[in-house]
Amino acid sequence: MSLWQFLTQNRMEVWQLTLEHLWMVGVSMVIAVAIGVPVGIWLTRRAVLEKPVLGAANVIQTIPSLALFGFLLPAPWIGARAERIAILALVLYALLPVIRNTYVGITGVDRAVVEAGRGMGMTGRQLLLQVELPLALSVIIAGIRVATVISVGLATIAAAIGAGGLGEFIFRGLAMVNNAVILAGAVPAAILALLADFGLGLLEKRLRPA
């Protein structure tokens, strides 16, 4: 059976697994951004913390993903459900790009602009919300873009611990030694990654200050 035949004959399951995949990526990205952006902002206010925090995020990224999924299995509450493990792991992997780009984006704002703003009497909060964040937004979105693409890929491994998603086709195809099934998981996952990259890339371009 060719890939196309498989996809059309199993439309419902393909759609189902794609939704599961999107759900994992969506939830974890929302959480990663909700944590990562504030932490990145915090780092710009406390220069001392930059090295340790970015260092920690870096270390997390170097842990092989399958190993991280495995570590979390015996954890209380988190380990009880595969989706929780998957989402926690995906959040952890997404943190570094988001935090780092938020930090770089904000510190990259023209110093003269920030000085002028502060000199004219903007409070820290006003500066952040009206000047720094809008000007850093493009770089922050770039970080979110990278993190999302990584997440889409990592989420395929989550199937190994039973969290579902398109990876399930890949593992099934491997067990069946059936290429069409493997591709039925790999190709949609790749397409999702490309779409995320493209879509967020467009957003990034539009938000770039001239």
Binding site: D110, A112, V113, V114, E115, A116, G117, R118, G119, M120, G121, M122, T123, Q126, V131, P134, L135, P209, A210
Partner: protein, 254 residues
Amino acid sequence: MTADTQPEKAVEFRDVSYRLDHGATLLHDLNLSVQRGELLVLLGRSGSGKTTTLKLINRLLEPSSGQVLIEGRSSTEWDPIQLRRRIGYAIQEVGLFPHFTVERNIGLVPALEGWSRQRAQERVRELLHLVGLDEQLASRRPRELSGGQRQRVGVARALAADPPILLMDEPFGALDALTRAELQREFLGLQQRLHKTTVFVTHDLREALLLGSRIALLEGGRLIATYTPHEFLHADEPLAAAYVAAFRTEKAGL
């Protein structure tokens, strides 16, 4: 604060020193005052402490010892946000917000102070005229303007909320000679009309002589002396004389 009750000395430095965390002292025992309505020029070379002095006024820096009094109150007693909103600030790089239109840039402090949209718009129009810019530019972005136009917007922005004090840090330094001369002339005219208390930093003697009602000469973090432009040209003080000599040589060389 009405005109009657405004203090004679808009700004006063009393034994002010400024030291950096790792030891270097940028200002030594500065005693200086700025009269209401005058344009005081802080003249000196790089490292003389003139920008530091300026930033002590709007509390971007705080004195390590001594006091900086603005309208009679120490800078450290003022709420820094309130203080800065009452002081116009124009810097060499201008620092216009690239994502704001010219109108929104100029109207920044009015917006922060909660002016009505209409009042702010009128004020912006008024200021564009004041600094010699076409009203049409209000909806443009800074990147669409020339260097000279941007600096005019910077001045307009500094004047927007009609602050009693204006601080300017080499505002025309980054412009070409022609534009610079043009802006200097226009600013002089503006000053003659508005009589804003202004502290103006520059390293250019010509600019100092043209614009200043008084010149404070700084070197190595110390105030050497203050002069009127006329006094400066005939000063015995070696540094001042050196400046004048260099000035004359330049002129002669043309």
